[in-house]
Symmetry: C2
Subunit: 250 residues, 2 copies
């Protein structure tokens, strides 16, 4: 088990929370974005088990300011996922992974559809070297994901399966630290839960603003629920994160 | 036709070049990376028709310095592609697209596998508003791309096709400015050439360092060849870009 995985488990146990807070905050200026992100993190820190930062925040703040936010999170006892959905060729993926790990991130999301050889192999290698986490996407949360993740594919022996089933099988070989399956499709979560190892954490984005239900995803087998706008757009991120945490623990 | 597409055509005609220079340069410091990138751009500017910048460069330099490089390129009469392979959910893709367009980029690459509805629809909308370009991936250049782009898929009517054929059909509906197909698979370029409109530009990465041949890709139907390391790692980027340009024009 990677350090990342055990840190999320520890924070989750201590805070009785299965919520990962996504920080895709929009603010007009760099300074206001930094301040708002840090404020939301502090307000919610007792009710979440992990933070997630996306590329828009990195583009807006720059990697060195993002690295300061990651340090703040670590001081709160919380790990941070870089939701970069790495999906390039191997040598470019490696450059990105190293830069994100050097900025302090504890785990990276990767786009499983890019494939292993000459694609994600280099990222997995870099993460193992540093005892960091890798979270491959198995089914995204939006409607258009059906066009590929939900596509029926034909294997070499002629068996027809769904692409996400093939992906869930495939990532079992990669020694990963969890997978990402959208909360908008509880039926898929249920099927994938049966394919991966029973203790593999399933991270589910797409709740509330994107239409997914926290309880349905949890009952289908999700381990952690990724919540963004419902918390950071709220006037009271502390209260809102406490309320959502409670929905999941009762 | 978007402004981007006509600018690449114009630069290509004027310079008798089909080469897009990829600037995924590795340098230990930010300042040295900026200087090296600008030097390579200036040295090669008479022999290429477009520049391409990747996420590692943006992470290392920050978006505002990258924006200065884009301005320098425009002063040389050359457009710049941001090779971000956008592959997130719609509202995050939109945030990234706006930031890249505001930084001056003329076109963005997108990961077609992410799907349209709630995925890439927002990016296409933002690009049309600004008359910028969109380049969807149809087949990547590395070995692992076979796992999905090369996967046999079953359509609803029971017909078996390759995923890349389905993607090439799909992007015809998106009013795009070119597609990306790896130079490492001339047979795929040939097939895709027959699916898309005859005048749709095909951009092909993966030549030389990744094993693809400039001439084979061109003969199979590629319009522009993306070259990175063979030029920017050379001691003489001017001479090397001139030599490669000549290979394609004779």
């Amino acid at each position: 088990m990677s350090r990342f995985r055990s840190e999320v488990e520890k924070a989750s146990r201590e805070r009785c929370s299965r919520i990962v807070l996504a920080l895709d905050i929009l603010e007009p200026s760099k300074d206001r974005l930094y301040e708002k992100a840090l404020w939301v993190m502090r307000e919610a820190s007792e009710n979440v088990c992990c933070f997630k930062i996306g590329i828009p925040t990195v583009l807006k703040l720059g990697l060195s300011d993002v690295s300061r936010l990651v340090e703040e999170a670590h001081d709160m006892g919380l790990p941070v996922i870089m939701d970069c959905k790495l999906g390039d060729v191997g040598h470019v993926n490696r450059m990105m992974a190293i830069l994100y790990f050097e900025a302090g991130f504890d785990a990276l999301t990767v786009n499983t559809l890019v494939g292993f050889e000459g694609g994600l192999d280099s990222v997995i290698e870099e993460s193992k070297k540093r005892d960091r986490g890798i979270l491959p996407l198995v089914y995204m949360s939006h409607k258009g994901a059906e066009e590929t993740f939900g596509q029926t594919v034909l294997s070499k022996d002629g068996t027809a399966r769904k692409m996400y089933e093939v992906l869930a099988e495939r990532v079992k070989l990669w020694d990963i630290d969890g997978i990402v399956v959208g909360a908008t499709r509880p039926e898929v979560i249920r099927q994938v839960r049966d394919i991966v190892e029973p203790d593999t954490p399933i991270y589910s984005p797409g709740v509330i603003f994107q239409g997914g239900s926290l309880r349905d995803a949890l009952e289908a087998g999700s381990t952690y629920l990724i919540v963004g706008r419902a918390i950071y757009l709220s006037e009271n991120p502390r209260g809102e994160s406490a309320r959502l945490k409670k929905i999941l623990s009762t």
